[in-house]
């Protein structure tokens, strides 16, 4: 069991999300940055769908009530065990009573804590990912007790893991044309790919809004499907990039669709940072 001593700004349990429930209106949810979460699980030798703690902007403080292995990937929030600095993307053995805490955010926005065999919170609709009205809890709170397995999974020793630093520094967000892309005027299409767009403070697990406006005269569409990574354009010209907790359907024109890997990249960015859309071919 792991006890939450401090929850951090916005910490949740996430796995790869709920697949197959969209026709009930249930969002996918799941880790915002699949690349980093998979990295942590892979290093520990976990199943790729093992549940981890996703921490946003600031880390949590957690106490371990059993021996296990952990791995932290994603944003660097200066992790420490009992006030001793630990490395990211490494297997760290923890003992009963050890306290994991975090400090300064050095790069990235979301950090993942994986434990050997994953967190064993309740599975709802094939997933442990927290979401309002689906799981009992939506975020972690102080004094929560999170079950984990007592046995340690065999991990691959000396595996060479190299983290791609581009993942945290690149401004480039690769996109496909969305279903309504062709309704944009040529100048608008050019603007989309030449301008830098600034991430607004309205950014969360549901969507990232951009500050810059793209003036347009696109009509709303008849409500249709949307997916994580869909870029919607409002009549006012706001660009909304849908993320993992997004609704299943929407009525704004869908002008772009992010590559899966670019959703991961965007998940490590925060307000004030710039992005640049780059069109890729199917």
């Amino acid at each position: 069991m792991v006890k939450v001593l401090k929850s951090g700004f916005y910490s949740t349990i996430q796995d790869l999300g709920r697949i197959g429930y969209q026709h009930f209106g249930v969002p996918y949810s799941g880790v915002m940055d699949g690349y980093s979460a998979s990295m942590a699980n892979a290093i520990l030798g976990n199943d790729k769908n093992a549940a981890a703690i996703e921490m946003t902007m600031t880390g949590a403080t957690l106490q371990f009530n059993c021996n296990t292995n952990i791995c932290i990937s994603g944003a660097d929030m200066s992790p420490q065990i009992n006030s001793n600095k630990i490395e990211l993307n490494k297997i760290i053995s923890v003992k009963v009573g050890d306290v994991l805490s975090f400090g300064r955010l050095n790069y990235g926005f979301r950090s993942y804590l994986a434990v050997s065999d994953g967190f064993k919170t309740k599975v709802v609709m094939n997933s442990r990912s927290m979401y309002k009205n689906i799981t009992n809890q939506v975020i972690l709170y102080k004094n929560d007790e999170l079950p984990i397995s007592n046995s340690v999974v065999n991990s691959i020793k000396h595996a060479s893991i190299k983290v791609n630093t581009n993942h945290f520094t690149s401004k480039i967000i690769e996109v496909f044309k969305g279903p309504e892309f062709d309704f944009l005027a040529v100048e608008q299409q050019e603007q989309l790919f030449s301008k830098l767009f600034k991430i607004s403070k309205e950014n969360n697990r549901m969507a990232y809004q951009l500050e810059d406006i793209l003036a347009n005269s696109l009509k709303p569409i008849i409500t249709s499907s949307v997916l994580p990574g869909t870029v919607q354009l409002t009549p006012f010209g706001k660009l909304i990039i849908l993320m993992r907790d997004c609704q299943t359907t929407g009525g704004y024109p869908r002008i772009l669709q992010l590559k899966d890997t670019s959703i991961d990249v965007l998940a490590q960015k925060f307000n004030g940072q710039n992005i640049n859309f780059k069109l890729v071919k199917h």
């Binding site: 697949i19 197959g20 969209q22 026709h23 009930f24 209106g25 249930v26 969002p27 709802v124 609709m125 309002k132 009205n133 689906i134 496909f176 969305g178 279903p179 569409i221 008849i222 409500t223 249709s224 499907s225 997916l227 990574g229 609704q247 299943t248 359907t249 669709q257 992010l258 590559k259 899966d260 199917h282």
Partner: protein, 243 residues
């Protein structure tokens, strides 16, 4: 009847199929039929099929290596004969209390449109609304068939919290909030029925193609039904209808 469909890639691992851009029950039936055909093929690579008013989204497990090939396959399924869509649609009868305790915006609609509250309730509860699809929130039904006289614009500023079970009108649509959530529609009543029950293997009782009919109940009846719903013994009223 078949339609002239368009096929578009949606990201790297989904194909969007679109019908003419109108809200129409004939289109709805064709979408359900096509969705069923694909579903019954049990194709391993397809992880999810989503329907909406005039579209169907086929989502694959991994990147579609040969998009043209997949579209060809889907086109063949669309025109494949020998598959009869079984019209096992249901009409669900939903009790609604339209009392001012719940129907907090009924008065405003009545004044603005110069229709009595009784007439609004009567018009709202005499229609068999068609379920087009479930979306927006878990268990939120997109219903078609609202009486034109009851069209009423959404609020300019959404309310931060709308109660679970709220029955509301937004523009040319009516719907039920399956859970407490923010919302901009005008609330005319509340139903004790649960539209999304996470404890059930089938969390939504209604599906695309079904119909919903509301009927007015008193506050006393509302609370009696609510007790039965809360203890899990309430029997939903429904009948099989021809699709």
């Amino acid at each position: 009847m078949t339609f002239n469909l368009t096929y578009k890639p949606y990201g790297a691992r989904a194909i969007l199929i679109e019908w003419p851009a109108v809200i129409d029950e004939v289109i709805l039936k064709d979408i359900i039929r096509f969705s069923d055909v694909i579903e019954r093929k049990n194709i391993k690579e397809i992880v999810e099929i989503k329907t909406a008013y005039n579209s169907l989204l086929v989502i694959y497990e991994s990147v579609c290596r040969n998009y043209e090939n997949e579209v060809e396959k889907l086109k063949n399924y669309y025109f494949s004969k020998g598959f009869e869509y079984d019209n096992m649609s249901k009409l669900w009868k939903i009790p609604v209390c339209y009392d001012a305790v719940f129907g907090i915006d009924l008065e405003a609609i009545s004044l603005a449109k110069n229709i009595s509250k009784e007439a609004i309730i009567e018009r709202h509860s005499q229609v068999n609304y068609t379920v087009f699809f479930i979306g927006f929130l878990p268990g939120f039904l997109y219903l078609g068939g609202l009486d034109e006289l009851l069209y009423f614009p959404r609020k300019e500023t959404p309310k931060l919290s709308v109660k679970k079970g709220a029955v509301a009108i937004g523009g040319n649509q009516t719907g039920v909030y399956p859970n407490e959530s923010p919302g901009g529609w005008n609330i005319i009543g509340n139903t004790p029925i649960s539209f999304f029950d996470i404890e059930k293997s089938n969390p939504c009782f209604a599906k695309s193609g079904d119909c919903i009919k509301f009927h007015s109940v008193t506050i006393k009846e509302y609370h009696n039904i609510k007790k039965l719903v809360d203890t899990g013994v309430y029997q939903m009223e429904s009948e099989v209808i021809d699709g």
